[in-house]
Symmetry: C2
Subunit: 303 residues, 2 copies
Amino acid sequence: MSSEKSKLLIFGCGLIGGSFALAAKKAGLVELVTGIDSSHEALETALQLGIIDAAICSTDSAKDYSDKLDSVLPASNVILVAVPVSQIAKIIVDLFRRGLPKNCLIFDVGSVKRKIIEDVHSGLGRLPPNFIPVHPIAGSEQNGPAAASADLFLNRTVVFTPHPETSESALKQLRELWIACGALVSELDGVRHDQILAATSHLPHLLSFTLMTWLDKEHSDEVFDFAAGGLRDFSRIAESDPEMWASIFEDNARNLVPQVDALLQELLNIRMLIEKKDKSGLRKRLLDARNARLRLIKKIGKA
Amino acid sequence: MSSEKSKLLIFGCGLIGGSFALAAKKAGLVELVTGIDSSHEALETALQLGIIDAAICSTDSAKDYSDKLDSVLPASNVILVAVPVSQIAKIIVDLFRRGLPKNCLIFDVGSVKRKIIEDVHSGLGRLPPNFIPVHPIAGSEQNGPAAASADLFLNRTVVFTPHPETSESALKQLRELWIACGALVSELDGVRHDQILAATSHLPHLLSFTLMTWLDKEHSDEVFDFAAGGLRDFSRIAESDPEMWASIFEDNARNLVPQVDALLQELLNIRMLIEKKDKSGLRKRLLDARNARLRLIKKIGKA
């Protein structure tokens, strides 16, 4: 970033948008944050918590919203789009059509990257050099501005998935901004990002949601009296925002669906071992799982 | 319990056996704990940590083991069988064949109850009134005596699944013993217990193991660099002991296999919604899951 402080504009004052604003403020990098959200309540909370300094509600009259946005855009240096993945490309396309300051950085934080890049490309007929697709591998089953924290990204991996047109100088500036927020910045191709995240994030979320949907449908709540830490930890991510995750599942369907099919096959294999009472085959599978878990926590820690 | 302190004999000096011994000692209810285990190392650790006061190794020569066991049985007041479920019934049958003191309580802590009760019945031709099947809904992915804690059962549900021949006085004595260890004692029919636990414990364990087996098989460890709290919590239970869980899955196959099939169907339904881009159908499923999760933690707490 230049030595001057930035004016930050955030679309979506939830957990991620709010936490980035707080972290950038804590690092002394921004002087003014304008927040845009569809919820008056979220904006009010974000103002009260000092996350944002000015608010624009996107569900006010179209003209009102448009006028306010146009008045704030020319002075913006950094724009963060932190809304559910299905709405990201539309907002980015709209912003470039309205016209952005020449050196304004714009990045999204969606959990799926390839579809956003494709949709921005098809909406604008080009990929702007100052648009950088980003995914912070941080989060929580909690959401909304009240859950935001200046420390959310501390020592967390933040993945940049630059497209072919992304400018080196925009990348460098945004990298410095994230590093100042405490993050560990790494880079992946967008296609590879979506394959990996399907396996490490989208699939566990889908399994956790599925078990809870099934328990809800097939069992009475009496069964919860006999649940313990296993189900509690397993189901934590099923508390995540349904709207946000329905978007993620849909936008990464091309990776998620084949991976669900492969996992179903593995589940059928293990089911067969149980039915056949093939204990040594079963034990081997569980041991492989345990070893993978141990390698995982060696990399990312236990808590 | 009578006002005299008890002599406790535990088979299996692991997390559950060790924690019960520590809790009973802390409550001032036992004066001597003899531990039996197949591992010299576990016995040594249990002695050093003050979990047990005397040790018998079950993998010493058969005669040696048998002589030592016969010498300790006549003075035992309470016997806890805390070994993997597949070995429990065999030990209980052996103990009754050797002969137990008239008022000695004997209970197991296996996670599957019906098969143990059936196997004891078929082994002895009867169900002894002083044998009480028990399942403490407490545990951890950790195991071995080093993980044992006097507080493991504090405010945890411990389920008794008495069989038709269980004596009321044995039940009452054992209930008092567990309550003194801080546990909340409840009662279920053994058949119902196994159905409920298949849903709330065995199935989440199976899904957690399956995802990790599949990640281990299909992906390189590079993917773990892009994992976060979601996968970490989801996979915690995949760190559980493979031997113990292979036994549980096998011994509760009659409930687990049909529940896996029902869950597979639900997973296929959700997969279909993703593939068809039926976002409102998907959102509805995820919302049901989230609501079930919220009701669960209302009952059992968040941590």
